[in-house]
């Protein structure tokens, strides 16, 4: 990859990745600390620090991505997304039945049991992911 400085301690990508991984761990620790706080002011502080650290992690990730220091993850296939939509709709319907059996009034405005948009029209969008 792009490690121009031959005499450096480690390649840029490795050094940056180490920081990225530590930011990720720190975000996790801040959010755990938030959920385990007792004092409201401490909880608010940990919430703010979680958000701030998430922002730093995102910024570093973007810079790494733009400078080819982080390999781009592979794209999910449309057929795999379709499968997940089907499973999700089925799960959602079963969950709706369960809630109805418990005689709980759900809040209006969020209609459960309604399917999310079915897979896109295949005449407009090719189902073959390698053809655009």
């Amino acid at each position: 990859m792009n490690s121009s400085s031959t005499g450096s301690f480690m390649p840029d990508a490795d050094l940056a990745y180490t920081i990225l991984a530590d930011l990720k761990r720190t975000v996790r620790e801040y959010s755990t600390a938030t959920t385990e706080s007792n004092c409201p002011t401490v909880r608010q502080m940990f919430t703010d620090l979680t958000n701030s650290t998430l922002k730093l992690q995102g910024e570093l990730y973007n810079v790494m991505q733009q400078n080819n220091l982080y390999p781009a993850p592979g794209k999910a296939l449309q057929s795999d997304i379709n499968k997940q939509i089907q499973t999700a709709n089925q799960t959602k319907q079963e969950c709706e039945q369960f809630v109805q059996q418990k005689n709980i009034n759900t809040v209006p405005g969020s209609p459960m049991g309604q399917s999310y948009g079915s897979p896109l029209n295949t005449s407009e969008y090719s189902s073959n992911p390698y053809v655009r």
Partner: protein, 79 residues
């Protein structure tokens, strides 16, 4: 910055999290400084230099919370 009405003595767990998070911020500050000084990539250098300031601010916030809670803490164990 923090409202006084809801301020309670911190628990042992909260104290340990604050201590752990302070050491995370210390490590991140040093990692950013070391990498920013060794890299030839200007974009990476810039973002890491900005991050150093943020990690210092985070550490100050954590220390501030310890200071604010210090007078509220009991001097004897209660249970």
């Amino acid at each position: 910055m923090m409202q006084n009405g809801s301020m309670q003595p911190i628990t042992g767990k909260e104290l340990e999290y604050i201590a752990d998070c302070l050491s995370n911020e210390d490590l991140l500050t040093k990692q950013c400084a070391a990498t920013a000084s060794s890299t030839q990539n200007p974009a990476l250098k810039q973002v890491l230099s900005q991050h150093i300031q943020m990690h210092k601010q985070h550490a100050d916030k954590l220390i501030g919370a310890l200071q604010q809670h210090q007078p509220l803490a009991p001097t004897q164990p209660s249970n």
